[in-house]
Amino acid sequence: MLADTWHLFNKYMRITMRMPMWTLFTLIQPLIWLLIFGQLFKEFVQLGDEDYMAFMVPGILVMTVLFGSSWSGVSLLREITAGTVDKMLVSPVSRVAIVLSRVLHSSAQVIAQAFIMLLVAWALGATLNMNPLYLLMAMLIVFLLGIGFAALSNGFAIVLQREEPLVMIGNLMTLPLIFFSSALVPEQFMPDWIQLISAVNPISYAVDAIRAVLSTTPDMAVFGKGLLVLTLFSGASLAWAVTAFNALRD
């Protein structure tokens, strides 16, 4: 299974590398958010001594992850229509590997994207903790979040079988969930009901965990909680996607 996953992962990476522009294109939107909203919201949000850019960067990283990974299912549908999936299914290749390789590819892609975003934010002067160890921990959260949402996207693709509703769900998963989290606005500014949603929103935990390690005063307890929640979240999403895929044989 691991070898199968590796070979398929390799294939997807190779295809991605042939079209590097595509990976960069998905960065445009988070970049705009970072540049424009960073300036726009700066005056609204009073965070005491803290710099709003630094506050916002983890949120933008998470947004990059969501924008990048929520489309994974669309390409699965393409592969189904193109016969690529059938071709894999008639071979003895592990069925789990088919899903796993897609999801891993997607999260590898978002790690690269998140890293670029991080560098841009740092270059723009956000006060971030650039200690490699803490960066690695932040990327671990990015990785898990990417796995979780790519798996959800693939799962929905299999269940819905159509591109249109999948795109709709993809949009629904990204923007509202970001606003229902602590990505752009500190929790204390939220109305109670949004705070409630935010408390069960895995995105909040991802943002908090990344914020905890990118801060100049890292908070390991918050990071640990985020790591735990995201491990559970990505594990559950993956399990669901694999189950859905296995049921594909009609």
């Binding site: 398929l8 229509t81 690529t84 059938d86 071709k87 008639v90 079988q161 009609d250």
Partner: protein
């Protein structure tokens, strides 16, 4: 005593709510044989292949492939078969070689074995010079060849080809036929292919199974099937079937040289002993009874006549329906309303354009359908041509058709005869 490569017993597959794609279907294919499943789209060809290649489950029946039960030993079955589906499944942004390497890995082959096999297959399919180019630069014929090469990488004993020449032009179709036949002869590969092209079934296969409405109607060699139609085939088309035409039919039926008759809308098919000599007698009867004949054609029986005999409709007239794809049950159907017949009848030279419109209607987002339908239209013309509707004014496309016909009669038969001796 030859062994059976594929044995299907009582296969039934029901798509919800109650669409019986295949029903109690029986089929046996001997080792080393080329078997063609001939039938219109929606007849159950693809479902049969999908069931036998472990791609879909089924509701009833037993399917043995290469000696293994597909239900309980799907892994062993997968190792013994190669499948080329209608949708090509190759990655356009990889090179031909990369596609094949991946395919080898999927079958858990060793690196050295994969590379050696790629050299062998690339040479065999004359892809050596382009094997390291991106597939997106390949022509349709090259992609099909790469498809088949990929499916053969692990040296399967049985090859499934689902509409192998769909969407290919005549030249590439001819090349592919030669490759398929060579694979069978040189390597003893058992091949099960589906097609709705009469020529493909007729020229390429040892056995033809006519499938319609989810059931196998008859299985035999192409020659035996054609010989089962006695005499020559005369097709008479009336503008309108009225009293006089009925009277003509009544008299004609009583003639001793008429062996079999069948109606298909306003078309009357007669199977006539010594058709050439008796056509004049028939015309006399028609004149006597006042029947107005719009069109009369005389030909040797083709597989289409066999198809007509066993199913009651001509394969050329059966409604095109892409209902076999597994995702269709979710996707919802487009307007499958139009009939080819009307398109064909409207204007011969427009058949190609008509085909395009039709395919949009049938499957608005399955683009592959496009090419296939165009070829379908051309095919129709060819078939009509063969049946001897010489009086029809065909322009550009008829040249192709006659080319095809010439080639078919001479070169292919020569090859085939030579090979069999």
């Amino acid at each position: 005593m030859t062994n059976l490569a594929i044995q299907i017993k009582g296969l039934t597959k029901i798509y919800p709510p109650d669409n019986r794609a295949v029903e109690t279907l029986d089929l046996e294919i001997k080792e080393g044989e080329i078997m063609a499943l001939l039938g219109p789209n929606g007849a159950g060809k693809s479902t049969t292949i999908r069931a036998a290649s472990t791609l879909c489950g089924f509701d009833e029946g037993k399917v043995m492939v290469a000696g293994f039960d597909v239900d309980t030993h799907s892994l062993e079955v997968r190792q013994s078969i190669g499948v080329v589906a209608q949708q090509t499944g190759i990655d356009y942004f990889l090179t031909g070689r990369e596609n094949m390497v991946l395919q080898g890995h999927l079958y858990r082959m060793k690196k050295g074995a994969i590379n050696a096999r790629i050299e062998e297959l690339a040479r065999y399919f004359e892809l050596d010079s382009s094997i390291d180019n991106l597939v997106s630069t390949y022509s349709g014929g090259m992609r099909r060849k790469l498809d088949i090469a990929c499916a053969l990488i692990h040296r399967p004993k049985i090859l499934f080809l689902d509409e192998p020449t769909l969407g290919l032009d005549i030249k590439n179709r001819k090349i592919l036929w030669q490759h398929i036949e060579k694979l069978n002869k040189e390597f003893g590969l058992t091949i099960l292919l589906t097609t709705h092209y009469l020529e493909e079934a007729d020229n390429l296969s040892h056995q033809v199974a006519i499938i319609n409405g989810g059931k196998i109607q008859v299985v035999d060699t192409p020659d035996a099937l054609k010989n089962s139609i006695h005499g020559d085939s005369i097709t008479i088309t009336f503008d309108d079937v009225g009293k006089n035409e009925q009277a003509f039919f009544h008299y004609a039926q009583q003639q001793p040289y008429i062996k079999e008759t069948s109606w298909e809308d306003n078309k009357l098919h007669l199977y006539v002993e010594d058709g050439g000599a008796n056509v004049a007698a028939l015309m006399a009867i028609a004149a006597e009874s006042g029947a107005k004949i719009a069109n009369l054609s005389l030909s040797r029986p083709t597989l289409d006549d066999v198809f007509l005999k066993y199913t009651g409709t001509s394969i050329l007239d059966v409604k095109e329906d892409e209902g076999d794809e597994w995702w269709k049950q979710w996707a919802g159907k487009g307007g499958n309303s139009g009939k080819w017949k009307s398109q064909w009848g409207a204007n011969d030279s427009d058949a190609e354009d008509g085909g395009e419109d039709q395919s949009w209607k049938n499957s608005d987002w399955l683009q592959e359908g496009d090419d296939g339908k165009n070829i379908g239209a051309k095919k129709r013309e060819e078939a009509q041509w063969q049946q001897g509707e010489w009086e029809k004014e065909n322009s550009a496309s008829s040249e192709q058709a006659s080319q095809q016909n010439d080639w078919k009669n001479s070169e292919w038969n020569k090859n085939r005869d030579g090979g069999e001796k």
